[in-house]
Subunit: 234 residues, 2 copies
DNA sequence: GCCCCAAACCTGTATGATATGTTTTCTTGA
DNA sequence: TCAAGAAAACATATCATACAGGTTTGGGGC
């Protein structure tokens, strides 16, 4: 909304009508929306228009659609967010460096929050990914996936879904640049040191020390950014 | 992408094909995409499917569409991002408080970057909004709009479009809660003090003092959040 | 060389048809 | 009486076609 309102066209109006319906009826995740035929009657437009509206909301993952079933309100999902970021990067309107600055800013906060708020299960999960990185240090791809899961778990443990949302939106970019950063760490020793950085973070979270956790996270990002710069990525 | 791949259906495939086209061809903002008819032939699906794909990308503001013209790659825009956030808030999957924590985190960084990187024109713009808030202190709606513009200008001056993107995505939520916070500031004196907080921030940016700017921003957010809590907003 | 207009092309919307998946209802058999 | 299963009602997925406007382009006239 906010900017959809001034958009011409029946489809935008239909999108607005649907989101408004969600708001007015106070619908939550899982609740069913009217069928396309209902909407067609209610808005006095063709099925085509209603369908494009539903489809658009589905593409943004604001609603779930599947054949035979009526659409339903979706659970919070990175959905569109990651597409926007990826679009920005692939069209060179956003640099990888800028993404990392945002990640650093946010993750210094999530890690501090995680140190304060994590449950024991969350702490164990975070520690698990740090360990898995160590154990698979010979397979970059696997290390990467655990790395991403590690940061995601920390965001989760911050207990603020908006942070999770944003961090996850960046994971696509991370996947496309991670290996490059890894390769600049020439020696195996350096690679192990980088992995151990995650261990430091995990321990600080488990110890419930937000200051220390934030410091380790900052150091980790500084090293990562340096690696990307060394690799010639702006 | 990233999660669209596993989605069944021709439309998702078409969306992927289009984004892939943008990537492979190295298209940038303003560049034209194939016509719907072209895509129809290329993908061997009906125009309906292609249209729904285009429309979805348009709803996310990854592409621009208008009658008679072929679609083009869009400039970076909050687009979908704000819709995701709003959806989260209206369906009560995100609390206003959580949004403010994220804003605080990010804006403490943008304000520091702004102090370091702002051009003179940007500094003047920021100062202008602070002044306009002071001059219109009797009209909450107007103060609010200048307040939002103030924070947006700071994000702009950080010279990292990702920050701008995120801050702007929150402006819808801000609009819906701002007045509530304002009302809890019972006396006119308190309201003026709150507005003066913006002046402090502006001056620190102009002075090029990132530390001070961040401190003022933190204080500003702490007061705002306190106001919302006093108003009973979780 | 310039202007104007028509043709070609494109998107926006509507309609109807068919295929297929899901839910509800009703029947039938134990 | 009740439960299993079939049929009907409902819903989305995709396709084909049509026509109304908006935009671009190329040609003709000057």
């Amino acid at each position: 909304m906010t900017q959809e309102e001034t958009n011409p066209g029946l489809v935008s109006a239909a999108i607005q009508a649907i989101t408004q319906h969600i708001r007015v009826e106070g619908l939550g995740p899982g609740d069913l929306l009217p069928s396309e035929a209902d909407m067609t009657r209610k808005l006095s437009v063709s099925r085509t228009v209603v369908r494009e509206a539903f489809r658009s909301l589905s593409a943004m993952r604001l609603i779930d659609m599947s054949a035979g079933r009526r659409a339903s309100v979706a659970k919070l999902d990175i959905g569109a967010m990651s597409m926007v970021i990826e679009h920005g990067v692939t069209t060179e309107q956003i640099s990888v460096h800028q993404v990392y600055d945002v990640r650093r800013t946010i993750e210094m906060r999530t890690v501090a929050l995680a140190a304060l708020r994590r449950t024991d299960a969350e702490a164990a999960e975070i520690e698990k990914y740090a360990r898995l990185m160590r154990e698979n240090c010979r397979s970059p791809e696997i290390v990467m996936e655990h790395d991403i899961a590690f940061h995601e778990a920390i965001a989760q443990a911050s207990h603020n879904p908006v942070f999770s949302l944003i961090i996850n939106a960046f994971s696509g970019v991370t996947r496309r640049t991670w290996v490059i950063g890894w390769r600049t760490r020439a020696t195996e020793e350096e690679q192990i040191k980088m992995i151990e950085g995650h261990g430091d973070i995990a321990r600080a979270i488990i110890a419930g020390n937000p200051q220390l956790a934030a410091e380790h996270m900052a150091a980790h990002f500084d090293k990562s950014v340096k690696a990307l710069i060394d690799a010639g990525i702006a």
